[in-house]
């Protein structure tokens, strides 16, 4: 079996297609690190001018306003909520001026918490989140702002209480580890899954070309499939190598970050954030990714011995990965049991961070459920493959 593994692995590594995938990934990683990452413009950035402008206007208002029984209700409202708000802004400004970053983190945490409370609970139609959430055509701008403010509050709380080294890059999530976190939250998982499909699509069917030679090997079909699956899994995991080049470039530009940095995790049941460390976050992501690889590989192995066409492998694999786009509507989890579909867990980073729970209004789209659903699916598919490959009438390709 070991010799066969070696044989398969070498074939895998020297396959033109696989080399091309690694090269393309390398190109994309470098393109991202050199062109896209530097132009990242977060909405929640550290902007002294913005804080100061808001602070001065409100301070001016508070100094001049006279509240008596004739005051307009909105004026009273403003005079009631601005003092505390301004206090936090003042603390932020002072901390920035004297470069006390941990203190800045502490007051920013309070600022976000207070702002979110005011805007979301009391500010309907009067107070707004950062205007950049209200882009033309965004139907859920308030919800986006609410999530982002809660997220930022939790993040800054973590910075203030933790002992990681802080910097502007950390605050704006630009360091290499945080960039990775943002990517996992975005489209990186889908890219990796598509790569996995491409790696696995021909791993069985290439044997068609030299069937007589392959059939002579003294190894059973089931074992052969297991070895091929293992090779595909290792190959898919090796995509880390080209991606790490991009990672290193970002690390040189903005610093590496710290595995103890806090990552906010949303829990739908508590409607609140807790934080875990970056290391834990990445570990959970990697675990979920590995389960995804296993699911896709076992599915494609089954398709390979049943339908026996690469086009089917490619397209049906993609259907599984992209199925969520079909049924995904915000808040759907509230009415439909989408936590039973494996395709609901494609956005690995968002699952771990709890963002999917927030989007779907569902408490069930958790990391643990994802692992459970995916391992059950994988087990069923592998079992079917095993049974098929052991039946007497089965012919390998």
């Amino acid at each position: 079996m070991r010799a066969y593994f070696k044989f398969e692995f070498i074939q895998f590594l020297f396959n033109k297609k696989n080399i091309a995938i690694y090269v393309i990934l390398l190109f994309l990683a470098c393109f991202y690190a050199l062109k896209i990452a530097p132009s990242y413009d977060p909405i929640e950035k550290v902007d002294r001018d913005e804080i100061e402008a808001r602070f001065l206007t409100r301070e001016d208002f508070l100094n001049n306003v006279v509240i008596d029984e004739n005051s307009y209700p909105l004026t009273r409202f403003a005079a009631a909520i601005y003092p505390e708000w301004n206090e936090y802004d003042k603390q932020r400004l002072d901390a920035l001026d004297s470069n006390r970053l941990r203190e800045y983190a502490g007051s920013t945490y309070k600022w976000y918490e207070y702002s979110d409370y005011m805007i979301f609970r009391n500010g309907n139609g009067l107070l707004y989140y950062n205007p950049r959430y209200y882009t033309a055509g965004n139907l859920y701008a308030t919800e986006d702002g609410h999530y982002a403010y809660m997220y930022s509050a939790s993040r800054y709380k973590g910075y203030a209480q933790g002992d990681s080294e802080l910097s502007m890059d950390v605050f704006e999530e630009r360091t290499a580890l945080q960039t990775l976190q943002r990517l996992l939250h975005g489209y990186l998982p889908i890219i990796l899954l598509v790569c996995c499909i491409l790696f696995t699509a021909d791993i069985v069917l290439k044997d068609k070309r030299n069937l007589t030679v392959i059939k002579g090997f003294p190894i059973s079909v089931w074992r052969r499939l297991v070895v091929k699956g293992g090779v595909a899994l290792i190959g898919s995991s090796l995509t880390i190598i080209p991606l790490s080049i991009g990672f290193i470039i970002v690390a040189i530009q903005h610093g590496m970050g710290d595995l103890n940095l806090p990552v906010p995790i949303f829990s739908y049941e508590a409607r609140a954030f807790t934080t875990i460390t970056m290391g834990e976050y990445l570990f959970q992501n990697v675990l979920l990714m590995l389960f995804w690889f296993l699911l896709l590989i076992s599915l494609l192995l089954l398709l390979s011995i049943q339908i026996r066409h690469e086009f089917a492998n490619l397209v049906l694999g993609c259907v599984v990965v992209f199925a969520e786009f079909y049924y995904y509507v915000r808040g759907l989890g509230f009415v439909k049991e989408i936590q039973w579909y494996p395709s609901s867990y494609v956005q690995v980073g968002q699952i771990v961070a709890g963002y999917r729970e927030y989007l779907n209004n569902s408490a069930s789209l958790t990391f643990e459920n994802g692992i459970a659903v995916m391992s059950v699916c994988t087990a069923i598919i592998l079992l079917v493959t095993l049974i098929i490959s052991k039946t007497k009438r089965f012919k390998y390709l």
């Binding site: 707004y128 205007p131 209200y134 033309a136 339908i307 086009f311 049924y327």
Partner: protein, 372 residues
């Protein structure tokens, strides 16, 4: 030649790839239906609600709160205030079912927006408002509806509106689908070179026959899209085939739904021919199905990765492969705006198809086929 074609059809008839493609297209159509059904029951009202929020938050960027005529607000501030009013009007008009009011407010809103673009300090609210192109398209749509007295509808499920949405989505990734479909078109032949060399026809004829049979299947797929959508006539009615759509084809103009579908079909067919021929050429050059696919996809995304390429090489046929963006006037909003015209796209894709055909005829012989 005819015998060859017949031979190809016989082979393709049992090809699993074609069956799977048919299955996928059917899944796509029905899936898209369920998506439309949950998503868009009240799309105009939802749109207006979000527009209201956007304008309101744009207003928060102004320090002044004095909205009176003799107040100290800037022109843009007043403009935005009026916009907000018309957005509310439109939203209410939709809710109480007064389409005429919706159109009138829409026309005024579009006018206000058109004026706002040149006002001082517009950059700081630009992301909250529709772009110039979008506004132009909206404005044309409202004016056309007003002039002809047609009634605004939110219906997206009957036959024609559904097909329109479907083709708009297809426009974005038909090229990708076709490249996956056709990337292995000649690979089988490389495995049986002796068989191919034995055919009593020249290689270019053989390739042409192969392309023709592929295109026949593409035709079946397109027909399938229409056939799968037929049940909607029974459930939701035919819809209005003349309902207007505003597009940019060099000029801003309004065309009926049926014409849009027609343009989409012409583009889809041309893109299919283009992709099949490109696959043939890349197959012979690279001798690998996946490398062919990767090269095609890279060419497809190159204009999005490097937007300056579009203005540099406007005759690149890949600028036109995403015809939904093309008809939306997407190219006008790039950092370096270019006017990509619909007709030019057809011409450039057509010319490159002819060039590829000539290339196949002149350079490709069976001698190129070596066992891989």
């Amino acid at each position: 030649m005819w015998k060859l074609l017949k031979n190809d059809f016989l082979i393709e008839r049992t090809n699993k790839k074609n069956m799977i493609a048919c299955l996928i297209v059917a899944i796509f159509v029905f899936g898209f239906f369920s998506y439309t059904k949950i998503e868009n029951s009240q799309r105009l009202i939802d749109e207006k609600a979000s527009e209201y929020q956007s304008v309101a938050s744009a207003l928060t960027k102004f320090q002044t709160a004095d909205a009176m005529d003799y107040g100290n607000g800037s022109d843009l501030y007043y403009n935005l205030l009026q916009q907000q009013r018309y957005v509310v009007n439109q939203s209410m008009a939709m809710k109480v079912d007064r389409p005429q009011l919706y159109l009138e407010s829409g026309i005024k809103l579009a006018e206000l927006r058109a004026n706002a673009f040149d006002m001082e300090g517009y950059e700081k609210v630009a992301t909250n408002l529709p772009s110039r192109t979008e506004n132009q398209l909206d404005s044309l749509f409202y004016q056309f509806m007003d002039r002809t007295g047609m009634v605004v509808t939110q219906d997206a499920l009957s036959f024609f509106p559904f097909l329109l949405d479907l083709f708009m989505v297809l426009g974005s990734f038909w090229f990708i689908f076709m490249s996956i479909f056709s990337c292995g078109i000649l690979i089988e032949e490389f495995h049986h070179t002796s068989l191919i060399k034995g055919y009593p026809v020249s290689f270019d004829k053989y390739v042409l026959a192969k392309c023709a049979s592929s295109m026949f299947w593409v035709g079946i797929l397109i027909a399938e899209i229409f056939i799968c959508s037929l049940p909607f006539i029974y459930f939701y009615g035919l819809g209005d085939a003349n309902y207007p759509v505003a597009i940019f084809d060099g000029n801003f103009k309004v065309i009926p739904t049926i014409e849009y579908i027609g343009i989409a079909l012409v583009y889809i067919i041309l893109i299919s021919i283009f992709t099949v021929l490109l696959s043939v050429i890349l197959n012979v050059l690279l001798k690998n199905m996946y490398l062919t696919l990767f090269v095609q996809l890279l060419l497809f995304i190159a204009p999005s990765l490097f937007p300056s390429l579009v203005s540099l090489v406007p005759f690149n046929p890949f600028n036109y492969m995403n015809f939904t963006n093309l008809l939306n006037g997407h190219s006008l909003e790039l950092a370096e705006p270019v006017e990509l015209e619909m007709l030019h796209g057809l011409i450039y894709i057509g010319i490159s198809t002819v060039l590829m055909l000539i290339g196949v005829k002149l350079f490709f012989t069976t001698g190129k086929l070596k066992k891989v």
